[in-house]
Structure formats: structure tokens, C-alpha cells
């Protein structure tokens, strides 16, 4: 027998957790896309290593 009655508060907490999870996932995708655009852009260059001598 399920004695943990599903209360409205549990649904609200679940909604909050799912929402935060989706936002974090979206943020990861956004940073990935930004990184890709930045490093494939024309003005991107790796730092030059100055050789001694």
C-alpha cells in the first residue's frame, strides 16, 4: 500500500525540478553553440607561441 499520498506540493516540486533541469540543459547547449561559433569564426586564432631564438 502506498502510504505516501501524492500531494499537490509534490507536483509543484517536480515541476520546479524539471524546469531547473531543462534550463541547465539549455544553458549547456547554448554554451556549446557559442563555443562552436566563436572558434569557427574568422577572427579566432590560437595564441602564438614565440619560439626562443
Amino acid at each position: 500500500m502506498n502510504i505516501r499520498a501524492e500531494h499537490e506540493i509534490h507536483q509543484r516540486r517536480k515541476g520546479r525540478n524539471v524546469g531547473v533541469g531543462l534550463m541547465l540543459a539549455g544553458f549547456v547547449v547554448l554554451v556549446l553553440a557559442l563555443t562552436f561559433v566563436k572558434i569557427t569564426g574568422g577572427d579566432f586564432a590560437l595564441p602564438q607561441i614565440e619560439e626562443s631564438q
Binding site: 502510504i3 505516501r4 500531494h7 506540493i9 509543484r12 516540486r13 515541476g15 520546479r16 524546469g19 531547473v20 547554448l30 553553440a33 557559442l34 562552436f36 561559433v37 566563436k38 569564426g41
Partner: protein, 312 residues
């Protein structure tokens, strides 16, 4: 096993995701997104869509963060005013500390991410805007001077400048024209609201012009600021961000806005009370349309081919 954390009397008020979102003042955020986007697209430099999207998103988050800080600071007076009594903190959904933490965290995150996605100047402008709204306006001016919304209006005027700087990396006269448009628009917009939200500001002890100098003076101020705004808005048509489409839209809107301000100035308090502040409410609604359509016209001018978009 029972869920020992279950306490109905406290959980009834537990916040949902929507309550935290409401802390960010979504309606203000939508205006920020729109004006910043217009600033970005009106600039004579194209931006990669991913960079444009993420930069505008971080500007919106920064604006939302300043909204949360404003709600944290103003929780006491928000509870007194009818217009704001249902906000998450006075409604008991979110604690003031949660709002403060959210505001500070999102402020830092949005400024850092904007610096990475666009440039340092845009990020510095966003940081200054958040500081201006949360500290200069909310903590200092709002409760100390009837010029609160005149000076504080600058915070709402920065987004198109930030949008322009995201694209170009520098500021220019066109960006400051868009700033001036919002800056001059803010006082008549808020004073009209203060006229028909009759007792709110009195009850909260906020020194709005209606409280400190009376309603007649407020009506005069609305007219004066509107006249100044009309000159600025129409003159913008003859700059690089203006053009024939903007001029047409601006002339029509400014004629209506000027008539509205004149009607407000002309009538007295008893007439306003008699018809439930019909003219003041109509002016307030028109002011929202006024700003939206002016920036919409700037956007259209930016989208048109060069030969259409600027005066030959």
C-alpha cells in the same frame, strides 16, 4: 514510511517555478528584449545569430536579475500597494533572501556570460544598468525624490544601447538617440499611471510627483515632458536610424500622444474622478503602443534596403 517533511501550513505557500520567474518581471523583460534587439539590428554591423540570441538572452537575464533585486528591496511597499501586492514576496511565495540571492547570482552570471558572448563594453554597460536600477533607483531615488522616475528611467533606456554595443563594440549617437527616446518617454508614462493608481503611492509613502506636488502639477509635467519627447521622437526620423516609415509612424503617434497629454493637462481632478480616469488610462495604454511602434519603425528601417532606409 511517512513523509515527515509534509507540513501543509507551510507548504501551501511554497514557490513554484512560475513564482521565481515572476520575480524577474517578465513584462519588463519583454520590453528590454525588444528594445535591445532593435538596438542590435539597427546597428550597421551584422552579428552571428547564435551570438545575437545568446547576448540578448543574457541582457534579458540581467534585466530580470535587477527586477528580483528591486522586489527584494521594495517588498515592504509592494505589500502596501494594490498594484504590487500579489508579487511573489508580499504574497508569501518567495522569501526576501531567496529573491536577493537569485538577483545577485543572475546578475553575476548574466554580466560574465555577456562579456564572453559579445564584448567587455556591453557587459560593463549591463553591469552598470543593473547597478543603476537596483541601487541608484530602487535603494536611493525611489523613496527620496519626486524625480525618482525621471532619473531612474535611465535604467530602462540602456537596453538599446547595449544591443548596439553588442553588434559594434562601441557607442554612437544613434544608440544614444534610442536611449533618449525611452528616457523622455518614461516620466509621462509613469505619471499617467500614478494619476489613476490614486492612493497606491500615497499609502506606500513613495514620493511620486502626485504625492509631493499634487495632481495639477503632475498634469503640467506630463504635458511638458510630452512636448519635449515629441520634438526628439520626430527629429530622430532625420537621423541614420530614421527614414520615411519611421517619420510616418512617428508623426501619427506623436500627434495622438500630444493630444492625450493636452487632454490630461486640460481637465481637473473632479472630471477625472467622475469618469474613472478614462483619459489618463487611455494615455497610459497609448504610451505602451507609442514606444513599441517607434522601436518597431526603427527595426523596419533597419530591415529595408539601404536606399529605402535612410534619407537620400
Amino acid at each position: 514510511m511517512t513523509d515527515i517533511s509534509y507540513q501543509p501550513q507551510t507548504h501551501e505557500a511554497e514557490a513554484s517555478l512560475g513564482d521565481y520567474f515572476a520575480l524577474l518581471k517578465p513584462r519588463v523583460m519583454s520590453l528590454v528584449v525588444f528594445t535591445a534587439l532593435v538596438g542590435l539590428l539597427a546597428a550597421p554591423v551584422s552579428v552571428h545569430p547564435v551570438i545575437a540570441f545568446s547576448s540578448i538572452l543574457f541582457v534579458a537575464i540581467g534585466a530580470g536579475a535587477s527586477g528580483a533585486l528591486n522586489m527584494w528591496w521594495d517588498a515592504d511597499i509592494d505589500g502596501v500597494m494594490k498594484r504590487t501586492a500579489k508579487r511573489p514576496i508580499p504574497a508569501g511565495k518567495v522569501t526576501p533572501d531567496e529573491a536577493k540571492t537569485l538577483g545577485v547570482a543572475l546578475s553575476g552570471m548574466s554580466v560574465m556570460m555577456l562579456a564572453l558572448s559579445s564584448n567587455l563594453l556591453a557587459a560593463a554597460l549591463l553591469a552598470f544598468t543593473i547597478f543603476f536600477y537596483a541601487v541608484i533607483y530602487s535603494m536611493w531615488l525611489k523613496r527620496s525624490t519626486p524625480q525618482n522616475i525621471v532619473i531612474g528611467g535611465a535604467a530602462g533606456a540602456f537596453p538599446p544601447v547595449i544591443g548596439w554595443v553588442i553588434a559594434t563594440g562601441s557607442m554612437s549617437i544613434e544608440a544614444w538617440l534610442m536611449f533618449a527616446l525611452i528616457f523622455m518617454w518614461t516620466p509621462p508614462h509613469f505619471w499617467a499611471l500614478a494619476l489613476f493608481m490614486k492612493s497606491d503611492y500615497d499609502d506606500a509613502g513613495v514620493p511620486m510627483l502626485t504625492v509631493t506636488h499634487g495632481r495639477k502639477t503632475t498634469r503640467v509635467h506630463i504635458l511638458v515632458y510630452t512636448v519635449l519627447l515629441v520634438g526628439l521622437a520626430v527629429a530622430t526620423a532625420f537621423t541614420a536610424i530614421g527614414g520615411p516609415v519611421y517619420l510616418t509612424v512617428s508623426v501619427i503617434l506623436n500627434a495622438l500622444f500630444l493630444k492625450g497629454a493636452f487632454d490630461i493637462w486640460k481637465r481637473d481632478e473632479s472630471a477625472a474622478e467622475h469618469d474613472g480616469y478614462r483619459v489618463e488610462k487611455a494615455f497610459f495604454k497609448l504610451s505602451l503602443l507609442y514606444l513599441f511602434l517607434h522601436f518597431g519603425a526603427i527595426l523596419i528601417e533597419a530591415m529595408l534596403p539601404a536606399s529605402w532606409g535612410i534619407w537620400a
